[in-house]
Amino acid sequence: MFSLQVDAKSITIFNRKFSRRRLSEYSLLLFMLPALALMLLFVIIPAGWAIVISFTNQALIGPNAKNYSFIGFENYVRLLSDSEFWNSLQISFIFVFGSAFVGQFLIGFTLALLLKYSGFINKSIVGGSVLLAWVIPEIVAVYIWASVLNFQSGSANQILLALGLEKHRWLIDTPLLSLIIVNIWRGTAFTMLLVSSALEAIPEALYDAAAVDGASTWRKFIHITLPLLRYTILMSFILITMGTFSVFGIVFAMTGGGPLGRSEVIGVYIYRNAFEYREIGYGSAASVIMLLINLALALVYLRFIRIDWSEDA
């Protein structure tokens, strides 16, 4: 028979005594269960499944769709000997370096500083327009830029003509550069927002004290702003590197990886093999390698976070 006894330190249910502390542990677990179950179902199981089928010759269609078999490391061996795979890796690295590191980060960081400290930039107009680029859907961004970079009548070429220069074949002669520009345009807001909020959190008193000590603006930046922003900077690096490494939509819709593979980032390579060639096993193997690279990058960054720079400063 059900019985419930409650006192200050314990609760007795079915004649069993539970301490309140123990019960709160149970209830914590209980509250986490739905989230854990969803994570398991939609993140961990699919990722695990991708790893499993990366060791098979499973295809979406054809004879290997129904009767596929385990082929060990064959997909991985094939990947490592595929020059197109190495090409896509190389392009991905250039894309990440150019658009995430140089572009999104440096521009986003600078913008955040300018927004806070410079009097001549209108915060709402600049901040708003950068933010706008970030919130519009990827495909919409692609169409906007396709019309900007369009050879015949795009505004980029109209500007070149107005300057007395010749039209440029953006998507043919400089496809990767064009994509990097689009991605910078789109992603700058992220770093800007992160850095802006971190800047707000730096106490003004620190700057005041430095000013009393006669520190120049530059020294304040080097010795106060930068050290206090280092976690934000690293976090922003990790997130934008991973995000950019897995960019697919912009590239796929804009150039399809072309011309002749010159802008084929790893995401497009995976799509082409897994879905266009229907070799889902092979495509999964490439995804697993991509996952490993992302993990490795994250580990490198995390090590940097642990370094305590403030002692050097």
């Binding site: 054809g62 004879p63 074949r169 229907r278």
Partner: protein
């Protein structure tokens, strides 16, 4: 102890979720259920209206049919394949004829031979419509949509260029002569467009390359020995057409590298008179109708078409003077359906003379049945003048990948990175990588 209980609790929750999901599937499997997949494009409106008529017809017979419709607007084939591989494939699906071999190899599609043998409607399908969905002597789909390709041209531009009207080219040289006249005499007009490059995808192979290749008498997959022909005079001729077209500035490469090349070339270029000639699928005629989505107000005065000539008279495939490529969509039954009788009844309904007439009128296409009457001069003319020259793409599980190599070859030529000869050599190399040295052959070049 505590750990074990945690696991039990977790296990119970997962089990509960499983039961809920499973229960939902069981309920959905009741009798009279039909899942139907087809591409969600402008044509699907007519398909939807026909499905409603089918449901109404069955309701009159006292049978309630619960129809689940899948009509993805993008990546139809990918979506369909993923549904199948996840075990939730449809009962009936629309299939583009050239993909049938892949579905057969994956055992996803049911042969319809026994069904058509007892169906009087089958006799109303012309031979081409019976051959297109057939593989190894079995029929796998009933065609409800077919198309063909011709050379469209702007009468006003060609006239201004001094080309004699009506334009009736009998060889590639005639086509080039007209293009050169436009180049010389009309400013700011791209003389011609033949689809090229990877971005236009299968359109490049089907509407562009094959229209040239068949005109040079080419066979890509030899039906005799089942080998891919990776080097042949016809292949070189077709690639040389591209080389001359781009090399002489008779077409422009840039629009082909934009995300949606058809917008510039067909939707705007031909419609606005920025492009003088374009090889294109017949259905664009309907799109250019004054009230159509790409409307040209005075379409009948400024736009016309002519069958695509072979390289020279009698040199086309089967000794033809003119060539065209036919494609199309059919209704197929999946091998996983639990309700084949109802599925066949649906396919039969969708393929009746009345349904095909409604469909063809709705989408402005060419009827697949002889007894489907369509009251349209353009369709009548195209059926009479072009359909006899139709040929089809090779049926093979490897077609998709070989086709991509064709697109890459045209892209190389278009960007000036390979001559026709070099592009053919790279093509041969790539196809050997796909199908193996034993499955290709080379024909002597003269």
């Amino acid at each position: 102890m505590l750990k074990a209980r945690k696991f039990i609790a977790l296990g119970l929750i997962v089990l509960l979720m499983g039961v809920l999901l499973g229960g939902a599937t069981l309920i959905a499997q009741e009798d009279g259920e039909l899942t139907i997949s087809f591409p969600g494009d402008p044509r699907s409106e007519t398909v939807n209206s026909l499905i409603e008529q089918f449901i109404a017809m069955k309701a009159e017979e006292g049978v309630t049919v619960n129809v689940v419709i899948n009509e993805p607007t993008e990546g139809y084939n990918d979506q369909l394949l993923l549904d199948f591989s996840a075990g939730v494939g449809p009962d009936v699906f629309s299939i583009s004829a050239e993909t049938i071999p892949e579905y057969v190899a994956a055992e996803l599609i049911t042969p319809l031979d026994d069904y058509v043998a007892e169906w009087d409607g089958w006799a109303q399908f012309p031979q081409g419509m019976k051959d297109m969905p057939a593989l190894n002597g079995s029929v796998y789909a009933i065609m409800y949509n077919t198309d063909t390709r011709v050379l469209f041209y702007r009468t006003d531009i060609l006239e201004a260029a001094g080309v004699e009207m009506p334009f009736a080219p009998a060889s590639w040289d005639d086509v080039f002569a007209a293009a050169e006249a436009v180049q010389a005499n009309v400013e700011d007009v791209i003389p011609m467009e033949v689809e090229a490059g990877t971005i236009w995808g299968e359109g490049t192979t089907m509407d562009g390359f094959f229209m040239l290749f068949r005109g040079a008498g080419g066979q890509l997959l030899d039906p005799e020995d089942g080998k891919w022909v990776v080097e042949s005079p016809a292949l070189l001729d077709a690639f040389a057409f591209y080389e001359r077209m781009f090399g002489d500035g008779l077409s422009a490469a840039e629009p082909f590298m934009e995300p949606e090349p058809w917008v510039f070339y067909l939707q705007e270029g031909l419609a606005n008179g920025d492009v003088a000639m374009a090889v294109a699928v017949n259905v664009v005629w309907g799109l250019y109708a004054p009230d159509g989505p790409w409307g040209i107000e005075n379409r009948d005065e400024v736009l016309s078409w002519t069958p695509m000539p072979a390289i020279s008279a009698g040199e086309g495939i089967n000794g033809q003077d003119f060539v065209s490529m036919g494609g199309g969509w059919g209704w197929a039954m999946s091998s996983t359906t639990e309700n084949p009788e109802l599925a066949w009844e649906f396919i039969q309904f969708m393929s009746s003379a009345d349904s095909i007439t409604q469909y063809t009128q709705g989408v402005g296409g060419i009827p697949t049945r002889l007894d489907a009457s369509v009251d349209d001069d353009h369709v009548a003319a195209i059926t009479e003048q072009v359909m006899p020259y139709q040929s089809f793409r090779p049926l093979s599980v490897d077609y998709n990948r070989v086709s991509e190599q064709i697109q890459i070859a045209t892209e190389r030529i278009m960007l000036g990175e390979a001559t026709a000869q070099e592009a053919m050599e790279l093509f041969a190399e790539a196809v050997i990588n796909i199908v193996g040295e034993d499955n290709v052959k080379r024909l002597p070049l003269d």
